[in-house]
Symmetry: C2
Subunit: 236 residues, 2 copies
DNA sequence: CACCTTAGAATGTATAGACATATGGCGCAA
DNA sequence: TTGCGCCATATGTCTATACATTCTAAGGTG
């Protein structure tokens, strides 16, 4: 793969930073110097540096110059894969078993549910994800019928509601909380594991321009699943 | 804040996508149309669209056009905060207590450790993070002396090694695995919790251009800590 | 010596044009 | 009808230039 010129400039500087040749707070060559070095126009240099700035690798200060940014080991990229896809990728047979499908109002006094419902009703969808027949995760989901009326008529027998929503209510914003909890009696029964087993709890809320769509709690069998996050120059 | 023209074009299209006015696979106006709409040059439009493509919001196909991408609820942004900072931000007093400091060779047969050591020795650093005196997390860390010889002389009594490394070996690439495990006897003793308590296990490896720096396992008290990941248009 | 002004330096934004390259559809030929 | 090739289309890359904005540092003034 032959890199275009601005890509080459970008990767050159990128590897200089990641290898430590350029330390944080170091000043980069100014645009005119890079123009000389690579024998190109300023716009080409600018494109490379702007990309690095957008990625947070450098900081550009108008009038002052460009500087290597300080690293932030926070803000890594977390892969939250679609379960059917992920399970299939590991060579297992994915299964989804719906457990509860209930149309109901928001629980009174539960501010969370009332916000989600937005005055109308909620669809509660509980289900069990499995890999090769073995339980993998229990899912408890609430969907706002105000935001997604179409889900009332959706066929959710084979496809988990998360996958359905991903296809029908695209480009939502989301926030995910990850924690570890012991399995309560019901979770333990469904996951066929002793009460108190460590479970990875993934709580996710999604909304679209301030309209709340869905809230889900997924209890993963702690030993059978993990999430992976990355930080670095490796781009997809 | 007055947006520049290419920023305005970008945010216009961005909100059209996030609000659903533009659905996945939809075709965007071609660059020449946008030039007309905004009365600007092609480079300006191109800058806006390139930024959207870099963010994964749209897909551009040479010769074909620009299309709204399919949403990926995966690849969220995970905040892995520096513990001292995060604890302080919540109004608690952070504490770090070193437990083990041992210079040793890689365990034979442990491919992981041998890779990290790179033929030389490892520094093992175990410690306990606490908030307001209450145990928060146990940390077990290995640092490659081949990669970071300076850490042999570092003062790690008050500052956790993670913070020290962040300041002295910046811009590492990293991979984090997140799972849930029960506390074994030693972890339970240190966290002052019963054996089997659900713990959030965060395993992180960092390296710099294929040279391995450190590997760490942090066991968080499940009920006392959680991670948060976000996905959406909100940029810092 | 302290403070203010100012000139230069560096990035931010935008224009207009040129050529390169991948795509997809249309028309022509076998 | 089928398959091939060509061409219009749309994006990718790059140039050269212009002016705006912001920061830094030098130099002059009180």
């Amino acid at each position: 793969m032959t890199l275009s010129l601005h890509e080459r400039i970008r990767t050159d500087i990128e590897s200089a930073i990641l290898s430590g040749k350029l330390a944080p707070e170091d000043r980069l060559p100014v645009e005119h110097e890079l123009m000389q070095t690579y024998q190109c126009s300023r716009m080409t240099v600018n494109k490379a540096l702007s990309a690095l700035a957008a990625a947070g690798l450098i900081e550009r200060r108008k009038g002052a110059g460009s500087f290597v940014g300080r690293p932030h080991a926070h803000s890594m990229i977390l892969d939250v894969p679609d379960l059917p896809v992920e399970v299939a990728k590991r060579g297992h047979v994915y299964g989804y078993q719906p457990l509860v499908r209930k149309l109901r109002a928001a629980a009174r006094g539960n501010a969370e549910e009332e916000l989600l419902a937005g005055g109308r009703r909620l669809l509660q969808l509980d289900g069990l994800h499995s890999a090769d027949g073995a339980p993998l995760a229990v899912e408890r989901r609430l969907v706002s019928l105000a935001a997604v009326p179409a889900i009332a008529d959706a066929d959710l027998e084979k496809e988990p509601p998360g996958t359905w929503l991903l296809r029908h209510v695209p480009w939502t914003e989301a926030e995910t909380r990850i924690s570890a909890v012991p399995a309560d009696a019901e979770i333990a029964r469904l996951l066929k594991t002793p009460v108190g087993t460590a479970c990875l709890l993934v709580e996710r809320q999604t909304w679209r321009s301030s309209e709340r769509i869905t809230a889900v709690r997924q209890y993963f069998l702690g030993t059978a699943y993990h999430l992976v996050a990355r930080f670095g120059s490796t781009r997809p």
